[in-house]
């Protein structure tokens, strides 16, 4: 849930659009209060337009489905409370930091891949559409290229254009 809300925040959708609350079977009043309180919050945030965030939502979904996040998620207790196979424990803060970094990177990679669905594009075009820095795009792009998900499609003048390989 921490990762999901972080992804929602990163994509500009807003972490508050997803809420997790604990209500026991005996807490009818608390349930009603939560619904009241959170509905008011959602009302303040206004309507959500899925078409406007289509690209971002797809990127969030892609990031959540990335093997890296799938491996890391749910490993917190194993790594911070128990030990890895080398009998090493990871500090709680370090694990969080690792997870945050992975989340951000996977989101940005996924965003680039989503942008590339529209056909071959240059680094500059990708940066414009995704809202990422040009330098960040070029770095991430080489990462994704090494993973075999994008490839150099050809040159337009002297500008290299990249294409998405995987479906």
């Amino acid at each position: 849930m921490h990762v999901v809300s972080q992804l929602l925040e990163m994509s500009g959708i807003g972490r508050d659009r997803m809420q997790l609350r604990w209500v026991s079977a005996a807490e009818g009043q608390i349930f009603a209060d939560f619904v009241k309180e959170l509905s008011a919050l959602m009302g303040e945030m206004g309507a959500f337009d899925p078409d406007e965030y289509k690209l971002k939502l797809a990127a969030v979904e892609g990031a959540l489905n990335s093997p890296r996040l799938r491996w890391l998620l749910g490993m917190d207790r194993q790594l911070t409370e128990r030990e890895n196979v080398y009998h090493q424990k990871v500090d709680d803060k370090l694990y969080r930091q690792l997870l945050d970094e992975a989340t951000q990177e996977e989101y940005q990679k996924s965003l680039i891949l989503e942008v590339l669905r529209d056909g071959p594009q240059s680094v500059r075009e990708i940066a414009e559409k995704s809202g990422l820095e040009i330098y960040a795009v070029s770095q991430l792009l080489s990462d994704i290229e090494r993973a075999g998900l994008v490839d150099l499609h050809g040159y337009e003048g002297t500008t290299p254009k990249f294409i998405r390989l995987a479906a």
Binding site: W22, G28, A32, S39, G46, F48, E61
Partner: protein, 67 residues
């Protein structure tokens, strides 16, 4: 036009906790806004992150998970 905006919210309720809680709220006649559309799950742990994304994709304004 002066109507205030009423959000449409997807709510995942755990069968054993929040769903029963919601039931109790109904039986006890506690008032709460009619903004949520409920999906009952056998456990709130069943809710996958992709369910949340799918909810937003299909046009809900927000997603709640009650466990």
């Amino acid at each position: 036009m002066s109507q205030t905006f009423e959000p449409k919210i997807l709510a995942f309720l755990c069968n054993w906790c929040a769903y029963a809680g919601a039931d109790l709220a109904g039986v006890s006649r506690f008032q709460y806004p009619p903004t949520i559309r409920v999906i009952r799950t056998m456990c709130s742990g069943r809710v996958d992150p992709s369910h949340v994304v799918e909810g937003l994709k299909s046009g809900f304004d927000g997603v709640f998970v009650f466990g």
